[in-house]
C-alpha cells in the first residue's frame, strides 16, 4: 500500500484547508490529496460505526489484554448470593478441590478462546475479572450467571446433573451469558431468550472444541455431556439433532415445531442447529468462519434486545456477505443453515 502516511491522518482538516490555499503548488497538491484521503477515512469510519460497532463500548488504556483475572470462591453449600471464601486466585497452583480446579481451568480456557479467536478481553471486552462461585447450595443441580458478574456452580443432585464445573462447555456457556449481557443484552424470554440460550451453547461448544483441538466433524456437538446425571444421559442438548440428546429432550429442530411460549432452553434448538449446519457445511474448525460470523452478529448494534430468530439470521447473513463476499461459500453456508431450520431470511 503506497499511499499509507500516518502524518496525513493526524493533521486536522482546518490546517489542511489552509495548506490547500498555499501559493506553493507542491504543498497545495499534497494538501488536497490529504484532504481527499482524510474524507474517505472519515466516511468509512462513520459507515463502520453506524453499521456494526456499539458506540457505547468503553475505551480502556490500562490493560494490554490476554491474561484472565480469575478468583474462585467456596460457597460451602450455602445459597448466599455474595461470594464466600476465596480458595484460588490467578496464578495459584491447583488446590485439593477438583471442582475449584475445573472452574479455574474452564474459565481460563474460555478466556483464551475469546481472546485468541476474537481478541475479546473477558466478559465485558475490558478485562472484567472472572468470578467462579463453587459448591453453591445443597445438591444443587444447576449452574447459572447471576447478571452481576458471578458464575455459580452447583454440585448436582446425582440424578439430573452431576458436578457442573466438570463441563468445559458449561463454563463457556455461563461466561457467554455475561458476554451477551454486555453486547445485545437479549431479553430472556420468547425468541430473544431462546437466542440468548443458543448463543451460550454456540460459544460453549466452541470453547470445548477449541480446548480439545476438535474440528467440526470430530466434535459430538452435545451440550452438557460431562455433567448429565443418569436421568438425562447422554447429554442435555444436541446441536446436531435437537430433541435426541436424552429421553426427555423435546427441543424442536426447526420452525415447524417451534413451541410458542416455550422455555428459552427449548426453542434454542432451532438456532443451535442452524449454527451446526453452517459450521459443518464449511468444514475445518467452527471458529474459522461460522464462529466469527455469529460473534459479529452478537456484537452488532442492530441486534436489538428483543430480536427474533429472523432478525439474528439476517444479521449473520449480512456479516457473512460483508466479510467474505456476497457469493462466498461462507454466505451460502449461512443461507443453508437458516433454510435447514426453516427460518425465512
Amino acid at each position: 500500500m503506497t499511499a499509507r502516511c500516518a502524518q496525513r491522518c493526524i493533521l486536522p482538516p482546518g490546517l489542511l484547508h489552509r495548506l490547500a490555499r498555499s501559493e506553493e503548488a507542491a504543498l497545495r497538491e499534497a494538501a488536497l490529496n490529504a484532504l481527499a484521503l482524510d474524507g474517505r477515512f472519515r466516511l468509512a469510519r462513520a459507515e463502520s460505526a453506524a453499521s456494526s460497532l456499539r458506540l457505547s463500548r468503553p475505551v480502556t488504556f490500562a490493560r494490554a489484554g490476554g491474561q484472565p483475572q480469575r478468583t474462585i470462591y467456596d460457597q460451602q453449600g450455602s445459597e448466599s448470593q455474595t461470594p464466600g471464601a476465596v480458595v484460588r486466585v490467578e496464578g495459584q497452583a491447583p488446590c485439593g478441590d477438583q471442582a475449584v480446579n475445573q472452574a479455574y481451568d474452564g474459565l481460563g480456557a474460555t478466556y483464551s478462546f475469546y481472546w485468541t479467536v476474537f481478541e475479546r478481553d473477558s466478559i465485558d471486552g475490558a478485562g472484567m475479572p472472572l468470578l467462579g462461585l463453587m459448591h453453591y447450595g445443597r445438591r444443587y443441580p444447576n449452574a447459572f450467571w447471576d447478571g452481576a458478574g458471578h458464575m455459580f456452580f452447583g454440585d448436582g443432585d446425582g440424578r439430573i446433573l452431576t458436578q457442573t464445573a466438570a463441563g468445559i462447555d458449561v463454563i463457556g456457556h455461563e461466561l457467554t451469558h455475561g458476554v451477551t449481557q454486555h453486547e445485545a443484552n437479549l431479553t430472556y424470554s420468547g425468541q430473544s431468550g431462546a437466542l440468548n440460550e443458543s448463543v451460550s451453547d454456540v460459544f460453549g461448544i466452541q470453547v470445548k472444541q477449541h480446548a480439545l483441538g476438535q474440528d467440526v466433524h470430530s466434535s459430538d456437538w452435545l451440550i452438557g455431556a460431562d455433567i448429565a446425571g443418569p436421568v438425562l444421559r447422554p447429554a442435555l442438548r444436541s446441536m446436531k439433532q435437537p430433541g435426541t440428546a436424552n429421553p426427555h429432550d423435546d427441543q424442536p429442530a426447526d420452525m415447524n415445531d417451534y413451541v410458542p411460549g416455550g422455555d428459552v432452553h427449548i426453542n434454542s434448538g432451532i438456532p443451535n442447529r442452524a449454527f451446526y449446519v453452517v459450521a459443518t457445511t464449511l468444514g475445518g474448525h467452527a471458529w474459522d468462519a461460522a464462529g466469527p460470523i455469529w460473534y459479529a452478529a452478537l456484537a452488532d448494534s442492530q441486534l436489538r434486545p428483543n430480536a427474533t430468530f429472523r432478525d439474528f439470521a439476517r444479521i449473520t447473513l449480512r456479516h457473512a456477505q460483508q466479510t467474505y463476499g456476497a457469493a462466498s461459500d461462507q454466505a451460502h453456508a449461512v443461507q443453508q443453515g437458516w433454510e435447514a431450520v426453516k427460518v425465512a431470511l
Binding site: 444447576n142 452481576a148 452438557g224 448429565a228 428459552v264
Partner: protein, 99 residues
C-alpha cells in the same frame, strides 16, 4: 395442605413437578411451611428474571376449592419452604418443558 410445585428453567431446561402435601413434613416443618404458603404473593404477575439459567418455581394450592397460583424466582423462596422443595427434588417427576 396440598401443594403442586413445578420447577422450571435451569441450565438443563427440564421441568420437575410434584404433587405434595405439607403432611409429608415433620409437624414443625409443616406448620412453618403452611405459614410461608399463606404469605406468598398469590396472583402476582411473574417478574423478569435477572441473569440466566436460574430456576423458577410455580406453586399452586387448591384449599377449599379455591385455586391460587404464583411464580417465584429461586431467591424469592422463603427458607421455611425449603423442606417442601427437598421433597420436590427427591420425588419430582420430569415433565416435558415444552408443555
Amino acid at each position: 395442605m396440598r401443594v403442586y410445585v413445578t420447577r422450571r428453567g435451569g441450565l438443563a431446561g427440564v421441568a420437575l413437578h410434584a404433587a405434595l402435601d405439607t403432611a409429608q413434613l415433620s409437624a414443625v416443618d409443616a406448620t412453618r411451611a403452611e405459614a410461608a404458603l399463606r404469605d406468598l404473593p398469590w396472583g402476582r404477575l411473574p417478574t423478569q428474571p435477572t441473569g440466566a439459567d436460574r430456576f423458577r418455581y410455580e406453586v399452586v394450592t387448591a384449599e377449599g376449592g379455591h385455586e391460587r397460583h404464583v411464580e417465584l424466582g429461586e431467591t424469592e423462596i422463603p427458607d421455611t419452604l425449603r423442606p417442601l422443595l427437598e421433597l420436590l427434588h427427591d420425588y419430582g417427576q420430569i415433565r416435558p418443558a415444552s408443555g
